[in-house]
Amino acid sequence: MKWLLFFGALIGAGICGQDKFFGDQVFRINVRNGDDIRKLTELVNLDHFKLNVWKSPSTFDRPVDILVPSVSLLPVKSFLKSQGLDYSVTIEDLQALLDSEDEEMLHNEGRERSGDFNYGSYHSLEAIYHEMDSIATDFPDLASRVKIGETFEKRPMYVLKFSTGGGKKRPAIWLNAGIHAREWISHATAIWTARKIVTDYQKDPAVTSILEKVDIFLLPVANPDGYVYTQSKNRLWRKTRSRIPGSRCIGADPNRNWNASFAGEGASDNPCSEVYHGPHPNSEVEVKSVVDFIQKHGNFKCFIDLHSYSQLLMYPYGYTVKKAPDAEELDDVARSAAEALASLSGTKYRVGPTCTTVYPASGSSVDWAYNNGIKYAFTFELRDTGHYGFLLPANQIIPTAEETWLGLKAIMEHVRDNLY
C-alpha cells in the first residue's frame, strides 16, 4: 500500500480548504460481505483521500455511497479494482449537479413567491383564488381550476383538478380544506400542497405514479364566507355565514351538516351553537356543492379532510363507537401516514377512529364519504396541540405543510395500489 501513502502526501496539500465540488464524484459500492466492509473501512479511514461516506450500509446487500474528491478519483478507482470491489459512478460531477439545483431553486423561489404569493404566510381569499388560477395557468396540461358552486354570500367555490388522464374519468381523490373558517393552517397547507403537486409531477416518482392512476381534486377553501369573516370581523369564527330561519344566530357547522347520522350525537340543534348541524342535511350550500359534485362524478375512492388543531389522524366513524368494516385497514394506513409525517420533524400524531379519538361527531364529511362508498376517508387535525391552537404562527406553515405532505402521499400511494 506504499503507493497510497505516496499519493496521499501529494493530494493532502491540494485538498485542504476545498469548499467547491468541481469534478468530484459519488461512487456507489456494492458490499457483499464483512470482508468487503472491512476493505472499504480501511479505504475510507485513510485521511488523505478525504472520502466522505454518504450512505453507510446497515445490511450486507445495501450499497455504500461515497463522495470521492476529484483528486482522489484515480487512486480510489485503482484500489477498488485491486480489491475486487464492484462500483458504479452515480454522480459524475457534484458541482455541476449543485449548480443546476441552485438554478432550479432560484427559479422555484421566484415561483414560490409567484408575484405576491408567499407560501409561508396566511392569505386573503382573493389571493388564494388568484394563486389557484396561476397554478392552473402555469401547468395547463396538469391542473385546472373548476368552479363547483357558490357560497351563501354568492362567492365562487373553486377546486383545483389535477389530472393526466386527458378527459377520461379516472378514480379520484378529494382533498378538503378550510371547512372550519378559523383553522387557517388548513387552507395554508392546502394551497402549498397544490403548488407541491404541480412542482413535483414528473420529478417525484410517487406523485407521478399516483397521477398516472388517479385524479386529485383539491378544495383549499371549503367555507369561503367563513374564511372572509375571520379575516375581517372575527378571527375565531367557525361556521358558515348562512341566515338560519327563525334565529338571530348565524351559520351552521359545515362539518355537522352532511347526511351521515345527521342530528345525532355530537351536534347541536341550537342555531347559536358552534356545532349547530343546520336545519337539514346539506342545508349549507357549501356542503351541497361538494356532495353534488362527488356524487355526479361517481368514482371517488378517497376523501381527506384537513382541520386544526390537535395533531390527530382519524378515520370513521365519528357518529358511533361501532367499528367501521374497514377499520383495520384504515388504521394501518393511518399509522403509516402518521409515521411518514413524523419522519420529517418528529411531529407526533395520534391515530384512531374519530368517535373515540377525539369526541362523537355526527353529520361529518368523512363519515358521509365513507358511507357513500369512498373507503379511504380520513380526517387530519393539523398542528399544534394547544399552544397556539388556531392562531398557529405563520412560520409554522411550511414545516406543517411539508410534513403533512408526507402523510398525504402515504395515503395516496396506498389508494393508488389498492383501487377497487
Partner: protein
C-alpha cells in the same frame, strides 16, 4: 461502517415481555368500576373519552396557578401511565403520571422534560376538580425567581393605558415586548381553566383579547383583562374577564367572570361587559 445489528438478546427479551405486560394489565382490571386506561386505547363504556389527557391538563393548570410563576409555566408533554375509575354516584377519579415541558418555548435553556404524578377527582360533572399533584423540578429555583422579577420589572415599564387589540394577533404573532403580558395572562387563565374543567369539558387559552386596566404604581401588578378560551368538545369560544394581582413569590389572587350563555346576536366571540364581584377574589 460495520453493519448495525440490533442486540439480539435485548430485542428478543422485549418481544417476549411486551405481550405479557399487556396481558397483566388486562388481567388486573376487574369487571366493575375500575378500568385500566392505557394511553392510546379506547376507554371502557362510561369513561369519558380522552379522560387521561384532560385530567393531566387540569392538574397542570392547577399546578401552574399554585406555583404562581409566569416564568415557570408547564405544559403537558405526554401521559405515561394512567388509571381511571368511574363511580356513577360519586364521580370520576383519575391517577396519572405524565411528562411536562416548559410553556415558553422561546425561553433559553431547560430543554429537558419534567415529570408529574397526580390524582384528579371530578365530582359528578361538576367543575373545580380536586387535584393532588407533585412534579419534579423543571426550572432552577434561582433562575426562575430572577426571571419572575425581570418579568415584573418589564410589566412595570409598560406604558399604560395599553392599546392592545389581540395577543397573539391573527397570524399567531406575539410581540416580544408584550410576551410578559401574555405569560401573566396565561397564569391567570390557568386558574380559570382549572376551575372550569369537568370530566367532559376542557379548555385551551386562545387569545388575550383586551386589556382593561394595568396598574403598576403599587408594588403588585394589578391586571384586568379579557381572554378567549376554546372549549372542548363544544367548540365554543368563551370570553372570560379576569382580574389578577401578582407579586413575584407571592400567591396569585384571581377574580373572574366568564360569559356562559350564548348571546343571540352572534355565535361566538362577542365580549359583553359583565358585572364582576368587586374586590373579592375568587380563590379566597
Amino acid at each position: 461502517m460495520q453493519p448495525r445489528r440490533p442486540p439480539l438478546p435485548a430485542l428478543l427479551l422485549s418481544l417476549w415481555l411486551l405481550p405479557r405486560l399487556a396481558l397483566a394489565a388486562a388481567a388486573a382490571a376487574p369487571a366493575d368500576p375500575e378500568y385500566n386506561d392505557v394511553p392510546g386505547q379506547p376507554p371502557a363504556v362510561g369513561l369519558p373519552r380522552g379522560i387521561l389527557q384532560l385530567a393531566a391538563r387540569a392538574a397542570l393548570h392547577f399546578f401552574n396557578y399554585r406555583a404562581g410563576s409566569p416564568s415557570a409555566l408547564r405544559v403537558l408533554a405526554a401521559v405515561q401511565e394512567g388509571r381511571a375509575w368511574v363511580d356513577p354516584q360519586k364521580g370520576c377519579k383519575v391517577d396519572l403520571v405524565f411528562s411536562t415541558e416548559q410553556y415558553n418555548l422561546e425561553q433559553e435553556g431547560e430543554e429537558h422534560l419534567g415529570k408529574c404524578s397526580a390524582r384528579v377527582f371530578f365530582k359528578n360533572e361538576k367543575p373545580r376538580p380536586a387535584i393532588n399533584v407533585t412534579c419534579t423540578q423543571l426550572f432552577d429555583k434561582v433562575t426562575r425567581q430572577e426571571k419572575d422579577y425581570l418579568l415584573y420589572k418589564q410589566m412595570k415599564q409598560l406604558k399604560t393605558p395599553l392599546d392592545i387589540v389581540s395577543i397573539p394577533d391573527s397570524h399567531g404573532h406575539i410581540d416580544p415586548s408584550l410576551r410578559p403580558l401574555w405569560d401573566l395572562a396565561f397564569l391567570g387563565s390557568s386558574y380559570v381553566m382549572w376551575e372550569k374543567t369537568t370530566q367532559f369539558l376542557h379548555y385551551y387559552l386562545v387569545q388575550l383579547s383586551s386589556v382593561k386596566q394595568l396598574k403598576t404604581d403599587d408594588d403588585s401588578i394589578d391586571f384586568d383583562f379579557t381572554v378567549l378560551l376554546h372549549e372542548f368538545s363544544t367548540q365554543e369560544i368563551i370570553p372570560c374577564r379576569i382580574h389578577l394581582v401578582w407579586y413575584p413569590g407571592k400567591p396569585l389572587k384571581v377574580n373572574y367572570h366568564c360569559q356562559e350563555l350564548q348571546s343571540p346576536e352572534e355565535g361566538s366571540g362577542i365580549v359583553e361587559g359583565s358585572a364582576m364581584a368587586p374586590n373579592e377574589f375568587s380563590n379566597f
